[in-house]
Point group: C2
């Protein structure tokens, strides 16, 4: 039994809980798994000893198995399509396991749980037992361990945490304590976020290694022995988010000439005594040259040498045979005075050696974005590449959370819930992969991801339909009835194409119900938009109250989309209020005969001779006579603010020379940084109603936008629609939206880190080295997962995105976001295709929303703009999920009286600053729950303050017998988790340091969320 009352002593802390329900049948087994502490020696206990006074070279046998890239996940797993890439993960694991079984000296690390568990379930129990032995002896060690090796720029923290939770749970379920990774292993992602470091720290990881950082940064760090450091993962969480982090010397490849994989061409070690090709001396000399040089860049007499690469170890024996020889002949030189010692090792054993060295380390507080691999290769294109996949992933996460919650809330669990949910969890895990959500995969692979996701949504929709039927029906009819019925009363259909304003149920039925499920733990209000085929509808709520509605024409750009098949002509808008937390409210929508109360949308002619203004009491937007946004009034300020679309030309290089890179899926490289306006004149239509006011802008044939302000909202929505980007001029284009303001931002702007903390950016500058930018545009791009802002002492402008995008502020007061890109050349980092998304011969159309905030900067009495942004950020990430049900069989009155049309899943509503990040069924009769404080320090006088909640009270819907706090991933008891502590070069953080080095008492864990400690002994 642990603390039921959570006190946030400061902002932005996540508490993770493991809850056990009334049925305790399986609870002991589950506990056992978490607690399992095998007699066998794994992890730090299994390390081969290093030798004192020697340079200890840790050979890390590893494979890097992309969960999709040039081939699909299945193609990689089974090893098909070898003409694209010779890569078959099933063979890798088979082969590695064989090799490990043969020789207890050998070590291997495995990273990607998505592949591992695909393999695992195909094995005989005898193979499984062998593997368990290998794991329990630390011979096979899991590193990273998430479902995939996630990208760090375009991923949302919720999804990162989820996919780690799932991967680590599977490892925990299968291997117990020895299956738990201690080390993050982000060797391939294209830059590294501070939030990722923070997450690793909060999951209890001891350290993290990565491969890719800016080439200038790397040079400098290696020169100054700063490639290994203590990374302060959070500006809010303090020491508890510190993570020992190491930049690898050689990316993740083997030293030149020592790649012994079947995919490599380096010569093996040839030790035949009489062989004319005997190369032992020459190869050992070369290896020693390498490690001797490398040792100049690291602080301790330990070196981590990665021996492996993408999809290596399909024939593990090949690697090990040669490493055996390398070790044998290298160490044999010790008798002649060599002080170089090679051992099979793992990243954890290497970290252990660093830890034991007792030295101090440099620190870092910013992040590793953007990543540049050479002066003209800034990996900032992928921040935006494949914008629709990036958005679809967010939809997927949205529905996954809804599905988790409803599955948890279900009065009766079906046996199918768990497999459906698991499929969806795993699909989202795959989507986080650094060649999935990033858009850096081949087109066919992108389609496979999309297909998987849509299958996953369909699977989980079976859960939500079941639960919603149970909840709707149970209160009105007897339990026995609902138990025995084989089909459902209501459809509770999801409309996955609402993003193009299409929904068969609402378009083709005269009567349907709309159930709005609110996944947040507080009441929300939401402006709902429903595609309809007619212009006269009646909407009544669960109490029978007729709702005020507004009808708006669907913009012609949407209507004209080639691949859209829909009867909808209008969007029906109404304001749904008081939507219950973790609950739903259902509305009955009925088409009226056109004679009844005909409604015309309010429409203004395109051409106006003066400023066109839309807005409300909170915010007003003015459009000039050319149709562009020109002025914003909000929060007591009126400022000139413009918005426009522009595009860069994608550079066409030959990729052969260092300086001649093409812009591509990874790389953003505008041709001579030229930028083009897409229009001098914008056609506009203005629709003003009681609920919403909209300006429909048409910039050109392929760019349009709806700018809208809802009656009660203090921000504006910019719903853009881009594409098909024309390429008939043989020029690839990278389209941006740019908001210009007079804010004197002095080069400073802020972007979020995986949707959580904001990080300060300064144009043409890096925090830790004097950057020399050869690409002034793309070198100033940063990942915007959800938010980009700038401000001066009086005013502030912020934009929330609905997906990851690249963004920057290239002039003071201006923010730009890249919304879409279509390119004609490959950028030569392996994908081998131009990023030219095309369907049926037409370029891809992308549609999305920017939420635009403008107002006073700084804190003040009322809710700050920042706090509003935070709350809207959560509400737009997880709005209500819309379920549509045909109502042919029930008229409004029958419906209203026969079914439960409102449901609240939570007992005590959380304050707005606290977010129920997670509520999901875990093992049988167990729940995994996370509460998150969403405000950063100082963002708001009120909302950034401490909060206290009682977990059991909040979740009293559930009968909780026991609860216990876990690490962030939910797979280890927090109070039993200890992390290796590293000492920074400067000792300014002494108190926290000491506290953390010592065994932390239960209460002391509080310290992890801040410096104000109550009840914690400071030593």
């Amino acid at each position: 039994m642990s603390r039921e009352t959570i006190s946030w002593s400061a902002a932005l802390c996540i508490f993770s809980y493991f809850l056990h329900g009334v049925d305790m049948r399986n609870i002991n087994a589950a506990y056992d798994k978490l607690r399992e502490s095998p007699a066998s020696q794994c992890g730090y206990l299994s390390c081969h000893p290093t030798k004192p006074n020697m340079l200890n070279v840790h050979l890390i046998a590893h494979t890097h198995d992309d969960v999709g890239w040039l081939k699909t996940v299945d193609q990689y797993y089974y090893g098909s399509e070898t003409n694209i890439q010779k890569a078959g993960v099933q063979y890798i694991i088979d082969s590695v396991v064989d090799a490990l079984i043969k020789d207890p000296e050998k070590r291997f690390i495995y990273v990607e749980s998505a592949f591992f568990f695909k393999w695992w379930k195909e094995q005989t129990s005898s193979v499984q037992e062998s593997v368990k032995k290998l794991v329990s002896e630390g011979r096979l060690e899991f590193i990273g361990g998430a479902w995939s090796m996630n990208d760090e720029a375009t991923t949302h923290y919720q999804s990162i945490i989820d996919q780690f939770s799932w991967g680590l749970r599977r490892l925990n379920d299968t291997f117990g304590e020895c299956g738990r990774p201690r080390i993050g292993w982000q060797i391939d992602p294209f830059g590294h976020s501070r939030e990722m470091a923070s997450i690793f720290a909060q999951m209890g990881f001891d350290g993290m290694f990565f491969g890719r950082l800016d080439y200038q940064d790397k040079d400098e760090r290696l020169m100054t022995k700063n490639a290994e450091m203590i990374w302060h993962g959070s500006a809010n969480l303090g020491k508890s988010s510190d993570l020992f982090t190491g930049a690898l010397y050689n990316n993740y490849q083997a030293p030149d000439g020592f790649c012994f994989d079947i995919l490599c061409s380096d010569d093996p070690i040839i030790d035949g005594k009489h062989s004319p090709d005997n190369n032992v001396k020459e190869r050992v000399d070369a290896f020693f040259d390498f490690v001797t040089k490398m040792a100049e860049s690291y602080r301790t007499p330990n070196l981590l040498i990665t021996m492996g690469e993408d999809f290596h170890y399909q024939n593990a024996g090949m690697w090990y045979t040669n490493m055996d020889k390398l070790i044998k002949y290298a160490n044999a030189r010790q008798v002649n005075g060599s002080n170089i010692n090679l051992i099979y090792s793992t990243p954890s054993c290497y970290l252990k050696s660093l830890h034991e060295s007792g030295i101090t380390w440099p620190t870092k507080s910013d992040d590793f974005f953007p990543y540049a691999s050479d002066p003209h290769a800034y990996w900032t294109g992928y921040f935006t590449s494949r914008p629709t996949i990036k958005r679809f992933e967010r939809d997927g996460n949205h529905f996954l959370q809804v599905c988790k919650q409803l599955s948890a809330l279900a009065p009766k669990k079906s046996v199918e819930f768990e497999p459906h949910l698991t499929f969806m969890r795993e699909t989202l895990g795959i989507m986080q992969h650094h060649d999935a959500i990033t858009g850096t995969e081949k087109q066919k692979v992108a389609l496979d991801y999309a297909k998987r996701l849509s299958v996953g949504i369909r699977a989980c929709a079976a859960n939500t339909r079941s639960v919603l039927n149970q909840l709707s029906v149970q209160s009105e009819t007897s339990a026995s009835t609902s138990e025995t019925r084989s089909d459902y009363i209501f459809d509770f259909k999801i409309c996955p194409l609402l993003n193009i304003t299409s929904c068969p149920v609402s378009e083709s039925n005269e009567r349907f119900a709309l159930t709005l499920y609110n996944p947040l733990a507080h009441f929300t209000d939401e402006y709902v938009r429903v595609p309809v085929a007619h212009h006269n509808y009646k909407v009544i709520d669960n109490k029978g109250v007729t709702m005020e509605i507004q009808l708006l024409p669907i913009p012609s750009a949407v209507m004209n989309m080639k691949n859209r098949t829909s009867n909808a002509q209008y969007e029906l808008v109404f304001f749904a209020t008081n939507l219950p937390p973790l609950g739903y409210r259902t509305y009955y929508i009925e088409k009226l005969n056109s004679s009844e109360g005909f409604l015309r949308p309010s429409f203004s002619p395109k051409k106006t001779s003066s400023l066109t203004v839309i807005g409300n009491e909170y915010i007003k937007l003015g459009f000039d006579t050319n149709g562009f946004l020109s002025e914003v009034t909000a929060d007591g300020l009126t400022r000139i603010v413009s918005q426009e679309f522009l595009y860069y030309e994608g550079a066409k290089g030959n990729n052969a020379e260092f300086l001649n890179r093409s812009s591509g899926a990874y790389i953003f490289r505008p041709n001579k940084n030229k930028i083009h306006f897409v229009a001098n004149q914008v056609d506009i239509e203005v629709y003003r109603g009681e609920i919403v006011q909209e300006v429909h802008q048409k910039f050109n044939d392929w760019i349009s936008q709806v700018v809208r302000v809802y009656r009660s909202k203090s921000y504006a929505e910019f719903e853009w629609l881009i594409g098909p980007i024309p390429i008939d001029d043989d020029v690839g284009k990278e389209v941006i939206t740019r908001f210009n303001s007079g804010i004197e931002s002095a080069g400073i702007f802020y972007t979020d880190s995986n949707g959580r903390e904001m990080i300060k950016r300064q144009r043409n500058r890096r925090d830790t080295w004097n950057v020399k930018l050869n690409e002034e545009v793309s070198g100033n791009y940063y990942p915007v997962t959800t938010k980009i802002t700038l401000e001066d002492t009086t005013a502030r402008m912020a934009i929330l995105t609905d997906r990851a995008q690249g963004g920057s502020s290239l002039q003071d007061g201006a923010l730009e976001l890249m919304v879409h890109r279509r390119l004609l050349h490959d950028d030569a980092f392996g994908v081998g295709e131009a990023l030219n998304e095309t369907e049926h011969g037409k370029g891809l159309i992308a549609r999305g929303k920017h939420l635009f905030f403008f107002g006073q900067s700084g804190t003040r009495k009322g809710i700050s703009l920042k706090a509003t942004e935070r709350i809207v950020q959560i509400e737009s990430l997880l709005p209500t999920w819309k379920f549509f049900s045909n109502m042919k069989s029930y008229n409004a009155e029958e419906w209203r009286t026969s079914f439960r049309n409102i449901f609240n899943g939570i007992s005590v509503v959380l304050p707005k600053s606290v977010h129920l990040l997670t509520l999901e069924p875990w093992h049988l009769n167990q729940l995994l729950v996370r509460f998150e404080h969403i405000m950063e320090k100082g963002e708001d006088v009120h909302y950034s303050r401490s909060v206290q909640i009682n977990v059991k009270d909040v979740l009293s819907t559930f009968k909780i017998d026991d609860m216990r706090e876990t690490t962030l991933d939910g797979n280890a008891w927090l109070n039993e988790t200890q992390r290796l502590q590293f000492v920074p070069d400067s000792e300014e953080e002494g108190i926290q340091l000491i506290c953390n080095i010592l065994k932390i008492s239960k209460d002391c864990a509080l310290i992890k969320c801040g410096k104000t400690v109550s009840g914690c002994k400071i030593f």
Copy 2:
């Protein structure tokens, strides 16, 4: 104790014996190895059961590991130079062994002992034990088992037998009975010799499978179900040389689409239940289509499917994983009525199934040459490719036999003898490989072979030097003296460059001894040629008798060779007679002051106005006024016979189309069959002496020849020197020598089969099908390992070669032999290089001899021409080996009186028709001995007759305690060896058949050499 007296009841039989010497220390162990009969089940006992009434598909997991081709042996073994070919044999065996250990259901066959034992000696004893278990259970089965998979066109039977003996011995020593292959596996050689079949039969093999046969032949055989047959391996040996032989359906590859190796691109079997890529049905359907079609071509409901290819199974798991699935899902269909049954099998298990079928089989009596893979790809170029490697290999065999004999004859064995001998045995084993002696390897690989061979010769030369010192010195000095001396009295140097008339010892010393070691088991006489720098020498024999000598100028073409560095100006010729069998006679050679008896070579001016004649009482050659051979008088006949050099232009194709092949290392494809004379006029010099008469012909700048007749020889020598073949006209050239006679050969000619039996050839015809020749020249080429002949009712012409060459008779009475080729294009069968042998920018020069016989055809009273040819064939294959010793320290008299200068290793001289094929040290105190009757039936009234010898009498030099007859390879007791018997379609050979099916009694083994049986019960 077995028969000591061998009776050849007919010609051409080889008796192999295993002899044990006086020291019996190790004999029991060796016996045990031969006798070992493990309780474990291997071979036919280990087969997975087939299913009755089903089509049983035998999946044969195999790898084909060329012992050198595009890479050298070591490069292939270690897997270096992967840019040339991804192939590392060490990984293959590692990986296969791992896979087999994991699953007792699986089978694998391994073929090349050269690689296997290279791997074996690197293994730990625990791995070795595991492998022994696999072998003893028949899970790993050796097939073929020779040191390499020898070529069948260019190899000599002596070397084939040797390399099988060695491979099988190593297997026997290591694995006992279960290591003994039962099946020949010649899947890649480019055509198949009848002698090879005969050798397999005599080694006790049950059958043989091969891959390559003429495409027309194959089509017909498949269509008529004659792809599997009983091959009569010998026209002389009868039933005992019959071999069950099968032509594989798909060469040795897996069915299209079912190649699961890492080197392949076929899709794996994807059986993920929910995988979008699941292809189980489709793949099984495709496999069934394949086997159903294939079954139409074979007689029994058993099919042999090769699952493997060149250097496959580096990741054995990849193959087995997919074969497991294929078997699983294919056989699962049996419950639904499928009658196809897949099993892991081996060629022996397949053969067992064929045997058990009880059906009868077609027979074949000719061979499978030449091989054509398409209408314009006749693989007849390699009969000649790399003529100097082909000759060097013969030199190597020659010295190997000398080294074996001397090592066996050594009074005291040094511990180094055996390793040196083994290195040489294994080198010769490697040289027999079908991409070594064939000349179809890359240039660098050819150089590696040559280097190995020269290292091997150097190693064995240490043996011969030691033994010759012992023999020379022991009789004159005390044993203790010779035992303790650390260096040798005499050099006994070998001169490996005698082929270009260069020998440092004879050229630079004023006094030297020449020891002529005679490896034959009868006395020989030999005309000896020694390169010398001066023109006045004295030669005395071991008795002090001064020999008659003759000096001849070294031809200018030799003197002008760019890469030859020699002081020699002359060749000193004398006639060495009565050279003892398996013994030596030494001559003392001393330079005389030029004042003493000056000798001028007899020289005729080039131009003559009439016929120039050289010759003796047996044969006379006349040369016309243009310098060409024009007339031969021999054996009572005088005929017009001419000889000329010509060349074909090598076709330059694009290799892309079927009909547009380039001539290359494999393929001989003359451009439009055009042939060019190289000269209209030949410059000649005539040298006539008492010992030899020579005509030195110069055809052009790059072709010259010496034609000579020795005083007492009935044949002429044509010593040709070709090269550098000019290519400045960008035309590749293939040079032939052609002998034209008036013999009315009616399209018939004869070529030898691996230097043993002759096979009748008929121009534009094949014995077993109506051939359609699209290449009239190259399609009529046959391999000439040692001999080509033609005849009519009165006259006969025969040419013996000193290496393998391609040859034909394209007009009646004419014989041509291709002597050298230089080509500018690759023929697209993998080698990837043009056969353009070049050193220091110059094309390769080749030199060699043709021995020319002319006389009456048919048998007669005196020795027949054929018998003479046979004897000369052996004498020219194994002439005396020349050892040169500096004589600075001994004058002739000291030398003559202080040392033993004559030695005879044999007690009873063998008749000329019997050849001591082998005398070699085997295990400690054991000898392997082979006696061969070298005449075919009817070749000579006298010499073809039966012979009887007493083995112990012949070898009474050795103290023989025990002897036993073995199979041809020397690794199994003949009387314990049983072969599977197959019944031919026609029953004409009834008696032999019955006799062979029954257990053969000791005496009955005689039957194997013929039909006249004494003491053998005929049932």
